[in-house]
């Protein structure tokens, strides 16, 4: 049985003046345990809406979303979320305290949560930074704290909304490799939102390409079967890049047209 299933999911927003905007319609997707799914789409295609619904921050207006067989009713500790910016970190807490936040909320004893937080702090490569506050850390380090904070809480899956979108190209590349390493160590299911084809081919075991918005859904799913380390200049990497690019090119043109 798949871990997550999104069935005929739709989301229509109602503005205060009564105008309706349908961001997503007829969205279907299954996520298997241990899979790394990249959801790729143009800006405004509703990919973040899909993630927000899976996270439980927003409820679908159509269809159903279930995780582990249970309907999603709201946010929960089984789905850890990594946000794009750094405004989700608690700046009054140290790096270590941020990482143990979820454990503390769920009543894990102090000694144990310290222990676990230290372990995940090391896993994301922040050893030695435990007593620093977020304001003293770089953008890449802050995203590492977010990832460690989520992992320490041991969710069934990770939801990542363009987590490296605000980082510079070098840092992003390093973070992608780190994330792959962490994913291989922990084997969590990941839903990773991006608009960067290169990032998707680098990370994903499957890439879901979305139609341009509004009323968007999946256009197609491309499995990424590259064994071993992924090299941007290798033939199979380029072949998949081309395939994805072919699918998304029309959507980009469409999105540009619609946005004027």
């Amino acid at each position: 049985m798949s871990l997550v299933s999104l069935r005929n999911v739709g989301k229509t927003y109602q503005s205060r003046l009564g105008a309706a905007y349908t961001a997503v319609r007829g969205f279907e997707m299954e996520i298997e345990p241990g899979e790394f799914i990249c959801l790729l789409g143009t800006s405004g295609c509703g990919k973040t809406t899909v993630l927000n619904m899976l996270a439980g921050f927003e409820m679908p207006t159509e269809g159903s979303i279930s995780i582990g067989g249970a309907q999603v009713q709201g946010p929960g500790a089984d789905r850890g979320v990594v946000f794009q910016g750094d405004d989700s970190l608690y700046e009054w807490l140290t790096a270590l305290e941020n990482i143990e936040f979820g454990l503390k909320m769920r009543g894990v004893a102090k000694a144990e949560r310290r222990d676990r937080a230290h372990r995940f702090l090391e896993l994301v490569g922040l050893k030695g930074q435990e007593r620093k506050h977020p304001s003293e850390l770089s953008g890449g380090m802050k995203q590492r704290i977010q990832i460690a904070r989520v992992l320490a809480n041991e969710p069934a899956m990770l939801l990542m909304d363009e987590p490296f979108g605000a980082l510079d190209a070098q840092t992003r590349s390093v973070m992608q490799q780190e994330l792959l390493r962490i994913w291989q160590e922990t084997r969590k299911s990941v839903l990773f939102i991006t608009h960067d084809i290169d990032e998707a081919v680098t990370l994903a075991s499957r890439i879901g390409v979305m139609h341009a918005g509004p009323a968007s859904k999946l256009k197609g799913v491309i499995p990424v079967s590259i064994s071993g380390e992924r090299n941007r200049t290798s033939d199979d990497f380029i072949a998949i890049y081309r395939q994805v690019y072919g699918m998304i090119r029309e959507e980009v043109a469409l999105a540009m047209q619609r946005q004027g």
Binding site: A55, G56, F57, G74, P75, G76, A77, R79, G80, V81, F83, G85, D87, S88, L89, Y90, E91, W92, L93, T94, F101, G102, K104, M105, R106, R131, K132, H133, S135, E136, R149, V150, N153, P155, L159
Partner: protein, 264 residues
Amino acid sequence: MASAPTASARKGSGWFESWGGMAIGFASFFVIWHIAATWLVGSALFPPPWPVFLRGIVLAREGLLQDQILASLSRIMQGFLLGSILGVPIGLAMGSFMPVRKILEPYTEFLRFIPAVAMITVAVIWFGIGEESKVFLIIYTTIFIVIINTATGVAGIARNKIRAAQSLGASRWQIFLHVALPATVPFILTGMRLAMANSFTTIVAAELVASNDGLGKMLWDARLFMQIEDIFVALVCLGLLGFLVDRLFRWAIRTFAGRFSPLL
């Protein structure tokens, strides 16, 4: 403690940065005062600092000065603390719940435009010229600033902070206690600092109008009996007290709440 490197870099580490500059600043103030009083004005109505200082010593020896200072300060502290204790929860409720905000906004938005000074008459009629009316006025002048700052702070918390806590398994109450409250602390403290400055204004005005003691009463009596030096002693005391209380406030924030508010 953990943020020590940046904090000390910002403050500057030398003796001059911490005290020397301030000492020169104060000294220059008294020098300019002296020059202005002695050479520029040269009137009995504007005494230079030295006679004022001597008069201050005399008043202090008699214990009169301490009595006035204590009277004013204790009123400020009582009203300020009560106003803050009442204002913080009201502000938190207003910032957290839209209906509460809608219901209470007419009160805050209406009353905060009636200055505490304008309420002196009412306060005296209601509570007499004793302590109650002064404490009432200080509460009045404190509470709205604290409420509005607190409410702004709560309402302005980044949505992702709340969402992150929800997906980490925090309950509503935990989110309030561990996210909303600490995220609002800098706003609460800023509101309290502003309120403290207002309290000084209000207490002097209240004591000028109706009181048996305090620095405001001292100013009023000195004016009646043309004791110019007493007036200046009271003025200098007010400035010094305000300065010291604000320093104390900043020190307390840095020591006890520095992690919430690294910028103060």
